[in-house]
């Protein structure tokens, strides 16, 4: 019997019910927003049990909060994981994912096609922690094997990359990671657990920017790390943070004491305690509401996006379209395997006319909003080279699928004909010599 068989209920049922039974004291059916910082102890012994991690319960909302915990359980359920740790943003989730086992001098391998913000965080800010990243083209998984070093502690990829329409071969990458005795960490933000289930393919940790499709309405910044509970942290001596005595808990060994709950316990009791990147209860509530309609929204996001992609592919002012749902995509086969329900709603296209044309197109839209987010009910448009990927070198931008001519769209839930018309008028207007929406 596989782990999946333990789920008595389907994905859509868990989307609405997982983690949120009726509140037992009042009977409140929708999840209450526990807008409070701290929780009363029964007595000194109860407090001691909580601080020693000997019993379950709440101490202080920097570590755990009932509304946030409800969201954590829901996402853990949807990803079919053991536990989840929510935090202030997707970037915070990436720090939390590495924090339990990375030490100064350690390294990890990451895809060179990651979202530009991740490349900057890993390449620049992580360096200050003494964490070294090796960026690799993971399209050829053997490149990853070649890049392995003795101090490598993890492999990090996106299931579906932002913004390039790139799909990672999760099964092959998980095999390489496990041969090396390290976890595969998958950013599942763009796909969501509705479209892709990384743990089924061998991933060990999943991270999310919940800001995107999970909350879905562009209301709340948030992040999450989900642990599969299946990685053996004691198989080698690489993961001392989880296997060796933790001085801040009087020599407690997390993996020995908490077993498959060790990572998530550590991420709260040490990670959130000391990094402090806690999710606000109100944001957890908004995200819970969003997830209740995840499957409905993703179906429509994907259908609209594919129609827009087809339209752009046939447009005279468009050079190319990178969407893994198109037959022209080199990632079509991987998308069929890993994203059977649809290849997502964020993709890029190349306009004829390069950087200047790209800027003009985004400035000429009337319905698409020009902003730096994805996964909203509204359709969004951006020119990565001049915005989100601005910090990267030219070479990094091209590798990340964010060259000068590239425009990124996140397709929303509007009437699809209106989206096609808006992009068409923006392209036509941008192509007119001397004409500019801003003029």
């Amino acid at each position: 019997m596989s782990k999946t068989d333990k789920n008595q209920f389907g994905f859509e049922t868990r989307m609405i019910h997982a983690g949120t039974p009726p509140e037992p004291i009042t009977g409140a059916r929708q999840t209450p927003i526990f807008q409070n910082t701290s929780y009363v102890f029964h007595d000194a012994d109860h407090a001691a049990s909580l601080f020693n991690l000997q019993t379950f319960g709440f101490i202080y909302s920097r570590l755990t909060n009932p509304t946030v915990a409800a969201l954590e359980e829901r996402i853990a359920s949807l990803e079919n994981g053991r536990g989840a740790t929510c935090c202030a943003s997707g970037h915070a989730a990436q720090i939390l994912a590495f924090f339990p086992f990375m030490e100064p001098g350690d390294a990890f391998i990451a895809s060179n096609r990651l979202y530009g913000g991740s490349i900057t965080q890993f390449g620049k800010t992580f360096k200050k922690f003494g964490w070294q990243v090796h960026f690799v083209d993971v399209d050829e998984p053997e490149n990853v094997r070649q890049a392995l070093t003795p101090n490598c502690k993890a492999i990090f990829v996106e299931s579906l990359a932002n913004p390039g329409g790139v799909v990672s071969d999760l099964e092959a990458l998980a095999d390489i990671a496990h041969d090396a005795g390290v976890p595969l960490i998958v950013d599942n933000t763009m796909a969501t657990p509705y479209l892709c289930q990384p743990f089924e393919w061998g991933a060990d940790l999943v991270v999310h920017s919940m800001t995107k499709f999970l909350s879905g309405n562009g209301t709340s910044v948030g992040g999450c790390v989900v642990d599969s509970g299946t990685f053996d942290w004691s198989q080698n001596d690489k993961f001392a943070g989880l296997t060796e005595p933790e001085p801040a808990y009087h020599g407690l060994r997390f993996y020995e004491t908490f077993g498959d709950m060790a990572f998530t316990t550590h991420a709260h009791a040490v990670g959130l305690r000391d990094l402090g990147a806690t999710l606000a209860p109100m944001n957890a509530f908004q995200t819970l509401l969003g997830i209740e309609t995840l499957s409905l929204r993703m179906d429509r996001h994907c259908a609209n996006a594919l129609e827009v992609a087809h339209f752009l592919e046939g447009h005279e002012l468009v050079d190319w379209v990178s969407h893994a749902g198109l037959d022209s995509s080199p990632y079509r086969a991987l998308a069929k395997k890993y994203l059977p329900g649809g290849a997502g709603a964020v993709f890029t296209f190349g306009v004829k006319g390069g950087y200047e044309m790209g800027v003009k197109v985004v400035e000429s839209c009337e319905l698409f909003s020009h902003l730096a987010n994805i996964g909203d009910t509204r359709s969004l448009i951006l020119h990565p080279a001049s915005t989100t990927h601005r910090q990267l070198s030219d070479e990094q931008r091209v590798a990340a699928g964010a060259g000068p001519e590239v425009v990124r769209v996140s397709i929303g839930l509007e009437t699809v004909g209106d989206l096609l018309a808006d992009l068409d008028q923006a392209l036509q207007l941008a192509a007119k010599p001397g004409k500019h929406a801003a003029e």
Partner: protein, 167 residues
Amino acid sequence: MAEELIYSDAYLRGILGRVRTIAMVGASPNWNRPSYFVMKYLLEKGYGVVPVNPRAAGQEILGIPCIATLAEVPGAIDMVDVFRAGEAAGAIVDEAIALRETKGIAVVWMQIGVRNDAAAARAQAAGIEVVMDHCPKIEYGRLNSELSWGGFNSRIISSRRRKVHIR
């Protein structure tokens, strides 16, 4: 690898609901050992727990005298909780089977990582309910929403309002 052990929620709820007294074999007086965590939690939940460990016999663990062997535990034992490795578990299970009549032992529970299929079969043949490779603290917490407080996947979905006793 052996088949994954899956026990229904109803089976585990039944055991945790019927049991009153637990003999914990392999209990440790060291406060940061997993067995100490489990014993403290089960005591807080109202179970009677008798620590059994020949190396700690005569000492008190959480205020309760530690007993050298199962046979020497005074009074009835509803459940034997095995905090020893799988190989050692066989002999402990056999001792529980031998004491089933006199002590009233109805359940043998082996902790996470402890599994002995042959011993489990012997216990079941003797009319004893068996749980292996699970933790009663984690299962109690999971079945009563406490595990969910830590962000864990309890795999429990219910629209019923849980009864809580306000004293």
